[in-house]
Symmetry: C2
Subunit: 167 residues, 2 copies
DNA sequence: ATCATTGCAAAAGATTTGCAAGGTC
DNA sequence: GACCTTGCAAATCTTTTGCAATGAT
């Protein structure tokens, strides 16, 4: 029941929210207002985010739908556990991205503007599996980040904006 | 003067210590006892390490050769700056490894025993450069970690050690 | 003598935890 | 009603910083 939820190559039949409810049920956990607010918000936005960015986007303390910081952290961990989100580290902080229904990918990270650019490479997966096999290592996943400067930042270095920059 | 310092494919003529002294000189920084203790210690051990592990291996407070925690952090940053060490993050903490005179490589990380296994792949570098080129991205480096279970841990799961484990 | 560096104590930043009050099944 | 969750305050963990004393050149 319900439409298919799909983003790229992976095809699944439950929405993130439905999948999370299933997860909660199966563990005897409760479907609370805060958890609903968080699934709803996170899966209607497709960017990468960290805890602070997320909290900044949610209703402020006092407003309806407010979720406290500890609950945000606790719930993010549940999403990771439930396979809805993937977590990784960048500059000493945790960054989250959609996992459920989202195709496997890696990132280019621009050190100048902090942008994360996604890319997908089957060749990388093959390479990874080959390397692991050689070491008789059982792979569960990987994380590749390519560091450097993105196209836009290369361009704006060459032709500085002349607006606020460098008086 | 001095033997060549070599570990793999990269060939250099200064020892890490000499290179660091050069770096200090060129910046008007001073060659202190603490800095000597740290270069000396770090480059006589070839493992990956984090700040805590390093401090645990150094002389304790009160002993000769003691280096305070803030100075350890400050000096590790200098080593990174000087190109002697590379820094990356694992489980929310900074991990360091030799860079100077050490060939480029990536890691397999065993989630069971926390071991880091190094591997080298030219194919990965090519793939990385190709991906970057497609995006007109200027690469400065990358970091790939393959997560999973190492050979030893796979084996000891199958045939538990029967010693202290699981009574 | 000058000025970089150190150690200490304290701060900072991110995330986690104990616990009493409140919400869900 | 039982017991999972929440928000608060406080703790934790890792790393950084201000500053007076110390040390290198």
């Amino acid at each position: 029941m319900g439409k298919n939820y799909s983003l790229g190559s992976v095809e699944v039949s439950l929405s993130p929210r439905e999948r999370f409810e299933e997860y909660l049920q199966s563990r005897g956990m409760r479907n609370t207002e805060q958890r609903r607010v968080l699934v709803e918000h996170i899966f209607s936005h497709h960017e990468h985010f960290d805890a602070d960015q997320l909290i900044a986007q949610l209703p402020a303390k006092g407003s309806d739908g407010y979720v406290s910081r500890p609950t945000v952290y606790r719930t993010l961990a549940e999403f990771v556990d439930a396979g809805l989100l993937r977590k990784f580290e960048l500059n000493g902080r945790a960054v989250y991205e959609h996992d459920y229904g989202y195709p496997q990918h890696d990132h280019l990270y621009c050190k100048s503007c902090q942008k994360l650019i996604e890319f997908q490479s089957d060749e990388l997966i093959e390479l990874r599996n080959r390397v692991a096999e050689e070491q008789r290592f059982r792979v569960t996943g990987h994380r590749l980040i390519i560091y450097g400067t993105c196209q836009d930042c290369i361009a704006s270095r060459r032709r500085p904006k002349r607006k606020v920059d460098q008086i």
